[in-house]
Symmetry: C2
Subunit: 499 residues, 2 copies
């Protein structure tokens, strides 16, 4: 074996452990009987431990170093080495004792948070949240010490969006705040009330599921390399090449959440299905970042799934599968798919207000990690931030500071990737629209291949070869900005609300 083979073979073994863990997690959310919980937790913990052990094994670092000596003009190998070193550095930066305390605390915090949210009792969650924050700071400091990033918050962010920094994100969020807050207010003041009847009715899960399958298959999700199952919360889980699964849930009286949820997850999954087989199990054989991942889901959900072109093709399928939708037209549907309503709950937010929810969290997280706000002050800070950005105040902490699972999971620095996804999806779609002749005509005729092909060759095929910023710039010809997204949103509100 060459040094490169040794390096890649060790990595493939780790990827196989990751694949196994992903199967176990997917099963846990979709198939596992309730009494299997303890056994499954133990198996997942053993797999995670072994993966960490292999990732921090000096023999792996040696294998990477030996491969690095062979890089010369091999750009792909250079990128393999770069990504491997990045992951090894992150994994090695956290001392074992800290990782164990952190895993234990997160697991405990999840249970406490669930109960606290059910009881709308922030005080019950506050002590463990304080622990989570202290551990996150400790981790962030260790990561800064290891040279991962210059500041603690950037170090956490980097775990979800490698290379992203507050310096890069803050101007993007500033533009969003400046443009979206007044826009949302104008929509509210427009007096226009959208008729949501076109998306409402009584639809069985079977009916919605059939429609979802037809649409997922049509846009390019490969059911031979995946499957669709029910779960409490929709997600995508990739086990590696040839097996990328999606889940969904439906509402019986409104088809938007089920159907657009399937298109969202199919977008995530088509990304992973499009990662090249030649990179499977290697450091480059994965998604670039959560932001890029989210751009793929949002593009199919929003730029495609809410468009008039899409519904020109999809409407007969809607009529066929969902009884009572005969009177629905592309125009009435378009409005119902683009209602804008400031609300307190992120997961129910529309395209226009969603990024303000994220902005709120981005601001608060930076203050939390900087130590500028105490845990006790968070509920009031939350409410005040919502009031300022969205003009609404939650009735209860359950719909306020306790609404998200992320902090309970210790996932501080995760939220900004949602907004990155929204911005990138709009910018990528514009670039595809420029590159593909009559893209909307193709979509209107049910031909999604040109769009998927463009994404395959401009995004998916590269795996992790380029950073998120680099990838966006290569694919779209310009650095990431909020321009495409804001232009998109303004065109929507103009058409639907006349503002």
């Amino acid at each position: 074996m060459t040094a490169t083979d040794t390096f890649l073979s060790k990595w493939a073994d780790m990827a196989a452990l990751g694949s196994a863990a992903a199967v176990l997690s997917w099963d846990q959310e979709t198939k596992m009987p309730p009494k299997g919980q303890a056994t499954r937790g133990r198996a997942l913990s053993v797999l995670a431990g072994l993966r960490h052990q292999q990732m921090t094994d000096p023999a792996l670092a040696d294998a990477i170093d030996a491969a690095a000596d062979l890089v010369a003009d091999d750009d792909v190998l250079a990128a393999q080495v770069r990504e491997a070193r990045r992951e090894v550095t992150r994994a090695s930066a956290i001392p074992g004792d800290l990782a164990r305390r952190s895993a234990e605390t997160r697991s405990r915090a999840l249970n406490v948070w669930q109960q606290a949210r059910a009881d709308a009792d922030f005080d019950a969650f506050a002590p463990v949240l304080a622990e989570i924050i202290a551990l996150s700071k400790e981790e962030a400091a260790a990561l800064v010490d290891a040279g991962i990033a210059d500041t603690p918050y950037d170090a956490l962010l980097d775990g979800y969006e490698p290379g992203a920094t507050v310096e890069q994100l803050a101007p993007l969020f500033d533009e969003l705040r400046t443009e979206l807050s007044p826009l949302v207010r104008s929509v509210a003041e427009s007096g226009v009330v959208i008729d949501e009847a076109p998306v409402r009715g009584e639809f069985t899960e079977a009916q919605q599921g059939e429609l979802g399958r037809v649409i997922a298959a049509a846009i390019g999700y490969d059911f031979e390399a995946g499957r669709l199952d029910r779960s409490a919360h929709p997600f995508t889980s990739g086990f590696g090449h040839g097996d990328v699964r999606i889940t969904w849930r439906s509402e019986s009286d409104d088809f938007r959440s089920g159907l657009l949820g399937i298109m969202h997850e199919a977008g995530h999954a088509m990304y992973e299905q499009g990662l090249p087989e030649s990179l499977a199990g290697s450091p480059l054989g994965e998604a670039v970042s959560l932001g890029i991942h989210e751009s793929q889901s949002r593009l199919w959900e929003n730029q495609v799934g809410r468009s008039k072109a899409f519904w020109t093709w999809a409407l007969p399928h809607l009529h066929e599968h969902l009884p009572g939708t005969d009177g629905v037209t592309v125009d009435t549907l378009f409005s119902a798919l683009h209602t804008v309503t400031p609300s307190t709950v992120r997961v129910e937010a529309d395209e226009a207000t969603y990024n303000l929810h994220i902005l709120a969290r981005f601001e608060m997280e930076r203050q939390i990690i900087a130590g500028d706000v105490s845990v006790a002050e968070l509920p009031d800070l939350w409410d005040a931030t919502y009031d300022e950005l969205l003009g609404v105040r939650p009735d209860s902490v359950a719909d306020g500071v306790l609404q998200d699972i992320h902090w309970a999971m210790g996932a501080i620095g995760y939220f900004p990737t949602y907004t990155l996804g929204n911005l990138i999806s709009a910018q990528l779609y514009d670039a595809a629209d420029e590159a593909v002749p009559d893209l909307s005509g193709a979509i209107a005729s049910g031909n999604f291949a040109p769009l998927l092909e463009w994404l395959r060759s401009n995004v998916h095929v590269h795996g992790r070869r380029y950073s998120a910023s680099e990838l966006v710039e290569r694919a779209t010809g310009r650095p990431l900005s909020s321009t495409a997204f804001l232009t998109y949103i303004r065109s929507i509100t103009k058409e639907v609300y006349g503002v």
Copy 2:
């Protein structure tokens, strides 16, 4: 940590890897999309490699030795040490190179066998079968060298039925041959033709599945700790405490195979669901042997599922779920569930002829491992053995020497456990019948708890604490023999065929 804790904690980590592998295999057979095969194969192979590495790690042997020093009067710990050493010795006996060659050959042989059987072409399978046999002999020799058993065939047998030997099995099989061959001939000569109409009709999978679920739940399969899914071949897969799953398949025109298949797998699964939580993840926390496992499945399938008592309770459920069965009575059903017909195919064999199929394989396997028969001679030997034991000759090698997957999997020595299961099931049922007041009355009224409780406390609760022979003797008060089984079969053929 005490030495015992260290030992058991290392073992629990290995059990967790085994649990993960079981989840992956179950998913592969029930849910995995076709393109996921290569990724899954890689993950399973990495998990198997890690498990082998941990099993043969000198640190584990040291931990076992240290725990052995603490045994004193602790019978359970003594049994834990005994079983751990047994497994470690087996795993360590096979050199890594041999294990790798063997795994590679088996995987290849499976593909070759599938095609050869489809083509009814033994010559296509013969070369790889010769390799399989040579590797099995090599493994058997290594196991004999390690002191696992005295003879090569016993060493292979021990992998499925720890402690079993030809010396123990041969007299049992001799009795079966002496009694069953003439009995089967008498049945054929009786001229009695059973009306199979009661089990035939047109039944959807959904109808049969609902009935199967009702019955599985009624007899004690815990759906909160398991689930029922479809697969190409029915199987049970235990992932550890709280998660033991079963699969089934149905025939649209005959409900026997689907329903009794579910009862069979539920029997396997109730055994694993009944292994005590206190032993979970320890050497004692598993099934004793395949023979004991099969006794549990056969008991619920045959002694219960084909009995008049059972159908006294189950008949209304049959009428309710399977349309067209209104005219079926307990008596007509009893006959249809006990047809005896010598055939060439094991998996379609009835209770009376089944063990003759096994006997044929047991005899041939011993000759194969002893080197008394060449691969080229096997098809003729197969046909002659069937002619002698069952009075039938296969029309094609596809239904002859190529019918079973076992040899292609390298599973030589596996078949006898099926017959052990049949013998043990009859002996256990008789013992339960003696111990439980009015057992058949309880069953006739749908109360299966007394039988399950008896099995729980006499078989399941012990895990691997006793050997199979010891367990049978403790549970039934006498050594394993063919008496109970032969008495059972004779009572059936007497009633149904008058012979």
